[in-house]
Subunit: 304 residues, 2 copies
Amino acid sequence: MMRVTMRQLQVFEAVARLRSYSRAADEIHVAQPTVSKQIRLLHEEIGLPLIELIGKKVFLTQAGEELYATCSAWLDSWGRFEQTIADLKGLKQGRLSIAAVTTTKYFMPRMLGPFCSQYPGIDISLEVVNRDRLLERMAQNQDDLYVMGIPPEDISTQSEPFLENPLVVLAPQFHPLVAKRNIQFSEVAHEQFILREHGSGTRLAVEKVFEERGFPLRVKMELGSNEAIKQAVAGGLGLSVLSKSTLNLDATQRDIAILDVDGFPIKRYWYLVRPRDKQLSVVAKTFMEFLKQHIDLLNPYGSR
Amino acid sequence: MMRVTMRQLQVFEAVARLRSYSRAADEIHVAQPTVSKQIRLLHEEIGLPLIELIGKKVFLTQAGEELYATCSAWLDSWGRFEQTIADLKGLKQGRLSIAAVTTTKYFMPRMLGPFCSQYPGIDISLEVVNRDRLLERMAQNQDDLYVMGIPPEDISTQSEPFLENPLVVLAPQFHPLVAKRNIQFSEVAHEQFILREHGSGTRLAVEKVFEERGFPLRVKMELGSNEAIKQAVAGGLGLSVLSKSTLNLDATQRDIAILDVDGFPIKRYWYLVRPRDKQLSVVAKTFMEFLKQHIDLLNPYGSR
DNA sequence: CAGAATCATAGCCAACAATATATGGTTTTC
DNA sequence: GAAAACCATATATTGTTGGCTATGATTCTG
């Protein structure tokens, strides 16, 4: 009984609705015998008469009524499905799920805003998590896109930089070097540093620079949050190196200053990452396109 | 987009449910590439990816989820439909609509009773109407079966007798002829008669007999109801000829007697009538079968 | 790392769905 | 009663579906 075809149901529905074979044939744009045949096949398949012709009038049997109800409902829900697909294609609706590492919370929301207003039907979810959580989510294919400072080596991912992510040296407002330009690296190398824990992208980069320059890195304190580090620097506990993104750009930071040290800012990037063989949804593609177009406007460090 | 086939949806549903191509292939008893192909066709038809393979795990895209929901619902409602059909075939449910002329109300309910209890899932509707109303209903195909004393000449109907319907001569309890056997027709011919109106089947039969025997029929009163006629006869207003069915069989009629007149009872039948080219429902067929089997038990005048 | 499991692709084929045209029989309508 | 409308049947054709086998690529699992 699974051999009933959609076409047959479509034809039947038209006949049942219009109570006429020939009008149904017109509506579907086929010849009348085609309709007759489809209906006959349906009868044979189901094993009960569905339609009665008394005189030339079309009546439905009880089984016919049942089928009519069933396939009306079906055509209805299929119609809704087609509409949904059309909407998805036309970006009139959809979901975009992004997971990003913590530091991005300083600028990601700002980038999502304009996208949201251009595509009001699209729901965006931005999960802000630490790097480990993010990798977990990636492994489980929970999101469309991921944003991180250091893309995984893993060949099963694809990544591209989309935004500069300079690392700058921070010092307390009244540190002696604040006013100086072109500070030599050696001048800050002996300072005490307050950094993120081992494994953090920023920490890795700093260690690498010190190693290249041949200076030992003196870490006074490890803190798990950028905010805490800024507070510590402001309090005069030491210097730090952080992504410039962490600085509040609007209200000028009163108690912290950026030192103009040679070799800084370290040029790094924020990467958009996705599973290599994940077919991006239309929404996700559009979002990436959108980012590329608007990046100049949004990038506060854009090298214009 | 109407070219999606049921088979494809069935395959997709299985894949989506089992989250595996090969297990789906097993379940449906086809080779794995067949599943791959169906899914690919579906993708092409819909124009959006529905399934993602990350590693070897099966994920559904948003469009996939939509389709899954849609076609789960469909399979569900199709299943219910199949069940309904099976029930109809197996007589576990159904409707039987019968229209019968007024006089049959004295015995039809009694015949329906056992059928009802044998097929408790079947709803029976018995419409008791006059002959004209019944013909109207027949023209509009409102019922499955019709019961009447004189089937229409109309070739567009088919009829078969199923029950005897003898017409008997009724007289008041204390009429002089009540005690007599083998009464000559001439002995009652001069009596006053109380009959149904012209056009009634009974009336026609009586007129015919009188004509055959060469006596004028003297009609004292025409009444529209059998009950009224019985009352009139009991009241001594005259004799009458009625279907024996109209007499209450249980409680012996105290004030009316049947005369044993030569030529009576007139042998007539109740007919089951149906539109010639109406395919009978399984229920209706079963009911006719049932009647034939039980008629001897039910027929109070059976010629055993 | 080897083997097992899983999915994709290619190529082929039988079966069938879907359709048209031509024609004939009823029923309805004018 | 003739014409029109309507449905059934017969037959031929065409494209597609649904299926298989064989093989290759990738990923997961001991």
